[in-house]
C-alpha cells in the first residue's frame, strides 16, 4: 500500500523509537502536522522555534537519545539556527526537520522560502533536502544514524510540502550504508601502548577530560582509570559530571574561571592526558603557555580535534570509552611497569592537595546575598541529584564552580557557543525525558528573558521545571569585563527587568522571591516541592564577580584571585 510522505515521516520516527518531538506549525508543516494527530509520539508545541531546538537538545543531553524538532519553512526554519549552532558546537545528537515550500517553487523567492540547507551547512554535521518522496525514509534513517554516531551532532532534513503529500511505497530500511562515512571507534593498539608507556614514565600526570567522556558514556571507565593510578582529573565545562565532582582526585574545572589547583596542575604537569576535550581557548588560556612542561596524549573520536590548537605527542583517534577499556586491560596485565609510577605519584598529589587547601574556590561573604551561596545551597538541598541546566554568564560559571556534579548528564550547558536563552528550554527538554526528576535552570536576569515565552509551554504540558534566577540586575558577565578592563563604564549592561514573580504568575506558573540569606533554604525547599513550573527570583549582590579569572589571552597561571 502506498503512503504519503507525511505518513512515512511519522512511521519512520516511530521506527527510530522517537517518543517526543518539539515542534511549531506553519503552512508547510500541515500534512505532517495532520499525520501526527493520531500517533503516540508526544508533541510539545513550543512558543518559538529556537525553544524547540534547545528543548530537543536538552532532551538529548539529559537522556543520550537523539532529540527531535519539527518546524515550518522560512522564518520557522531560520529561527532554529541558533539552536542548531549551539548543538553543533557541543556535539549534541539532534535531528531538525524543517518543512520547505513546494519543490516547484524552490529558488523562486516563494512566500516563506528560505534556503535553510544553505544557511545551516556550516553548523550541522550534515543536512539534506528531500527532493523525492522515495528518498524520505532512507534520509530519515541516515539522519538519525549520522546524528548519533561518531562525533555526534545536529542533522537537518528539509522536507518540501509537496513531498510530504506525495505517495510512495513505504518500507523503513533496516540497514544503513553510507560509503563515505565510517567513524573510527577503536583506538590504534600501538598508540594506546605508547600512551601507557608514557604514563608509566610520567611524574606529574593530569587527566584533562571534556564532553567526549559524557557523549561516549565513559565516565565509569574514567573514574576506574584515574583511581587505579591515582591520577588527578580536571574537567572542561562540557566535561563536568564526567568525573564525580566530590572525588578526592577531582581538581575542578580548568580554564578562564577554573580552579587554582586545576590551572596550576596543568601548568606544572609533565603529561596531559586529554580525553574527549578539544582544547578550546576558554579552557587553555594562552595556547603557547598551556602545559609548557608536558607531553600531550589526546584521545578523541574526531581526528580534526587532534593537533588543531595544540601539538599532540601521542594522538589516539577513537571512542574514549573503548580506549579507556583498552588502557584498563593493559593496566591489569602489566602492573609491574607501573611500580615506579605508583611510588612517585604521591609527591605530585601532595603538591596538588596543598594548592587545593591554600586556594580553594571561595567568595567574600560580606555584602548582599551571594550567588555562590545560593548555588551551594541548591547543591546541598538536592544532594547533587538534580538535573541542572544553566544560562550563560556569571550564573553559568558559578554553577560550574559551586555545584558538584556527581553524574554524567546532570549538567546541561551551552559550552561552545555560549547561548543565552539555552537553559530554560533545555530544562523543558530534560524534564520531558525525565518527568520525575528535579530539573533546575540556574539563570541570569538577562538570559532568562531570551526564551521566557517557553513558560507557556511548561505550564501547558505541566513540566515542573524550576528556574532559579540569580538576579543581579546586570548582564553580569559583561559588566564584570567592564569593571576589570573598561574602567567600570557599564554601558548597555544595566537593564531594567520585569517583576519575575508577576511574570510567572501571569503565565500560570508559580513565582517566589528571595532577598535574604536566611530565606534561601526555606523558599528553595518549598519551590522544589511545588509541582508547577516555578520561577525563583533571587536578588543577589549586583557587583559580585566570578573568580578566579584568567584574563583573555593570558596564560593559565596568571589568575586573578578573590
Amino acid at each position: 500500500m502506498k503512503k504519503t510522505g507525511a505518513q512515512i515521516f511519522v512511521e519512520s520516527l516511530v521506527a527510530e523509537g522517537v517518543d517526543t518531538i518539539f515542534c511549531y506549525p506553519g503552512g508547510a508543516t500541515l500534512y505532517i502536522t495532520d499525520a501526527l494527530s493520531d500517533c503516540d509520539i508526544r508533541q510539545i508545541v513550543v512558543r518559538h522555534e529556537q525553544g524547540a531546538v534547545h528543548a530537543s537538545d536538552g532532551y538529548a543531553r539529559a537522556s543520550g537519545k537523539v532529540g527531535v524538532s519539527l518546524v515550518t519553512s522560512g522564518p520557522g526554519a531560520t529561527n532554529t539556527v541558533t539552536g542548531i549552532a549551539t548543538a553543533y558546537m557541543d556535539s549534541i545528537p539532534i535531528v531538525i526537520f524543517s518543512c520547505q515550500v513546494n519543490t516547484a517553487l524552490i529558488g523562486n523567492d516563494a512566500f516563506q522560502e528560505a534556503d535553510i540547507v544553505g544557511i545551516t551547512r556550516p553548523c550541522t554535521k550534515h543536512n539534506y533536502l528531500v527532493k523525492d518522496v522515495k528518498d524520505l525514509a532512507r534520509i530519515i534513517k541516515e539522519a538519525f544514524h549520522i546524528a548519533r554516531s561518531g562525533r555526534p551532532g545536529p542533522v537537518l532534513v528539509d522536507i518540501p510540502k509537496d513531498v510530504s503529500a506525495s505517495l510512495t511505497e513505504f518500507k523503513y530500511p533496516d540497514k544503513i550504508h553510507i560509503r563515505s562515512y565510517q567513524p573510527t571507534y577503536f583506538g590504534h593498539p600501538g598508540q594506546i601502548q605508547r600512551a601507557m608507556r608514557q604514563i608509566a614514565s610520567s611524574k606529574r600526570p593530569v587527566l584533562f577530560t571534556g564532553g567526549g567522556i559524557i557523549l561516549s558514556g565513559a565516565s565509569n571507565e574514567l573514574t576506574k582509570f584515574a583511581e587505579a593510578l591515582s591520577i588527578p582529573v580536571t574537567n572542561t565545562l562540557m566535561g563536568l559530571g564526567g568525573f564525580p565532582g566530590n572525588h578526592q582526585l577531582f581538581l575542578g574545572m580548568l580554564g578562564m574561571h577554573g580552579t587554582y589547583a586545576a590551572n596550576m596542575a596543568i601548568t606544572e604537569s609533565d603529561l596531559v592526558i586529554a580525553m574527549g576535550a578539544r582544547f578550546d581557548d576558554r579552557a587553555t588560556g594562552k595556547i603557547d603557555e598551556f602545559a609548557p612542561h608536558a607531553k600531550v596524549i589526546h584521545v578523541d573520536i574526531d581526528p580534526t580535534s587532534i593537533s588543531k590548537n595544540i601539538k599532540v605527542d601521542i594522538p589516539i583517534v577513537g571512542d574514549t570509552k573503548n580506549v579507556l577499556h583498552k588502557m584498563l586491560d593493559i593496566l591489569a596485565e602489566d602492573k609491574e611497569s607501573f611500580k615506579g609510577f605508583q611510588a612517585s605519584i604521591h609527591e605530585w598529589l601532595k603538591k596538588i592537595t596543598k594548592w587545593k587547601k591554600d586556594f580553594p574556590l571561595t567568595y567574600q561573604k560580606n555584602g548582599g546575598l551571594k550567588p555562590q551561596y545560593v548555588i551551594e545551597r541548591i547543591y546541598e538541598l538536592t544532594k547533587g541529584k538534580a538535573i541542572i541546566t544553566t544560562e550563560v554568564g556569571q550564573n553559568q560559571m558559578w554553577t560550574a564552580q559551586f555545584y558538584k556534579f556527581l553524574k554524567p548528564r546532570t549538567m546541561l550547558t551551552s559550552g561552545g557557543l555560549g547561548t543565552m536563552g539555552f537553559g530554560f528550554p533545555a530544562a523543558i527538554g530534560a524534564q520531558t525525558a525525565f518527568p520525575r526528576s528535579l530539573v533546575i535552570d540556574i539563570a541570569g536576569d538577562g538570559s532568562i528573558q531570551m526564551n521566557i515565552q517557553e513558560l507557556a509551554t511548561a505550564v501547558q504540558h505541566r513540566l515542573p521545571v524550576k528556574v532559579v534566577i540569580l538576579n543581579n540586575g546586570y548582564l553580569g558577565m559583561v559588566r564584570q569585563w567592564q569593571e576589570f578592563f573598561y574602567e567600570k563604564r557599564y554601558t548597555w549592561t544595566c537593564l531594567p527587568h520585569p517583576d519575575f514573580v508577576k511574570v510567572a504568575e501571569a503565565y500560570g506558573a508559580a513565582g517566589y522571591r528571595i532577598d535574604k540569606e536566611k530565606d534561601v533554604d526555606k523558599v528553595l525547599k518549598e519551590a522544589f516541592r511545588n509541582n508547577q513550573p516555578t520561577f525563583i527570583d533571587v536578588h543577589v549582590d549586583p557587583m559580585e564577580c566570578v573568580y578566579p579569572m584568567v584574563p583573555a589571552g593570558a596564560s593559565l597561571k596568571e589568575m586573578l584571585l578573590v
Binding site: P122, H126, I146, R179, S180, Q182, T304, S307, P315
Partner: protein
C-alpha cells in the same frame, strides 16, 4: 607551501558548496578548484590547490575527510605525481610578431585555436613551470585576456585511485 589535493566526492547537489564553505569558513586558501565527474558517474573529483604550512594542510585534509559526502581525500604530498593545467591566452598578434608567436607556440607544443585581425588565442597545457615560462614569453606582446583551468593531478606509474570506501581505521601515527 603550495599543495595539491584531490577529493573524491559523491556526485550530488550541494557538495561543491560544502567544500568551498569549509575553506572559506575556516579561513583556508583555495588557489584553484577543478571539478568533474569520474569514470564512475556517482563520483566526482575535485582537484584543489591550496597553500599553508604542514599543520594547516593536515587540518584541511582532516576537515575534508570529515565531510559526510567526501569519499576519499588524496594528498599528493607523499606521492610522486603528475599535474597538468590548461591556459587559454589571447595575445596581440601584429604583422611583425605573428611569426615569432607561431614559433613559440610550436616550441611549447601549444595550439592556436582562434585568430582575429589583431589577436591570436593560444591554448597551452602543461605543468605550472611550463605555463609560467610561456606566459613570461608572450607577456611583452600584450596579453588581452587569459583563463586557466587550474591543475588536475594523478599519481605516476601504475598506481590508481582505488575506490575503496572510508574504513573505520584504528587511527594512525598522525591521528
Amino acid at each position: 607551501m603550495r599543495h595539491i589535493i584531490s577529493v573524491l566526492v559523491e556526485n550530488e547537489f550541494g557538495v561543491l558548496s560544502r567544500i568551498s564553505g569549509l575553506f572559506s569558513g575556516r579561513g583556508f586558501n583555495i588557489e584553484s578548484l577543478c571539478v568533474a565527474e569520474t569514470l564512475d558517474p556517482t563520483i566526482s573529483t575535485m582537484t584543489i590547490v591550496t597553500t599553508g604550512d604542514d599543520a594547516i594542510i593536515e587540518q584541511i585534509l582532516k576537515q575534508l575527510n570529515k565531510l559526510i559526502n567526501v569519499i576519499k581525500v588524496i594528498d599528493f604530498r607523499d606521492t610522486d605525481y603528475i599535474s597538468r593545467e590548461m591556459v587559454l591566452v589571447k595575445v596581440n598578434a601584429e604583422e611583425k610578431t605573428r611569426e615569432e608567436i607561431l614559433r613559440m607556440v610550436e616550441i611549447f607544443r601549444g595550439r592556436i585555436i582562434d585568430v582575429s585581425q589583431k589577436t591570436y588565442t593560444i591554448m597551452i597545457t602543461g605543468d605550472e613551470e611550463k605555463l609560467r615560462a610561456f606566459l613570461a614569453l608572450v607577456r611583452p606582446l600584450g596579453i588581452k585576456d587569459l583563463v586557466r583551468t587550474g591543475p588536475v593531478a594523478m599519481a605516476r606509474g601504475d598506481r590508481t585511485i582505488k575506490m575503496k570506501e572510508k574504513q573505520p581505521k584504528g587511527g594512525n601515527e598522525d591521528g
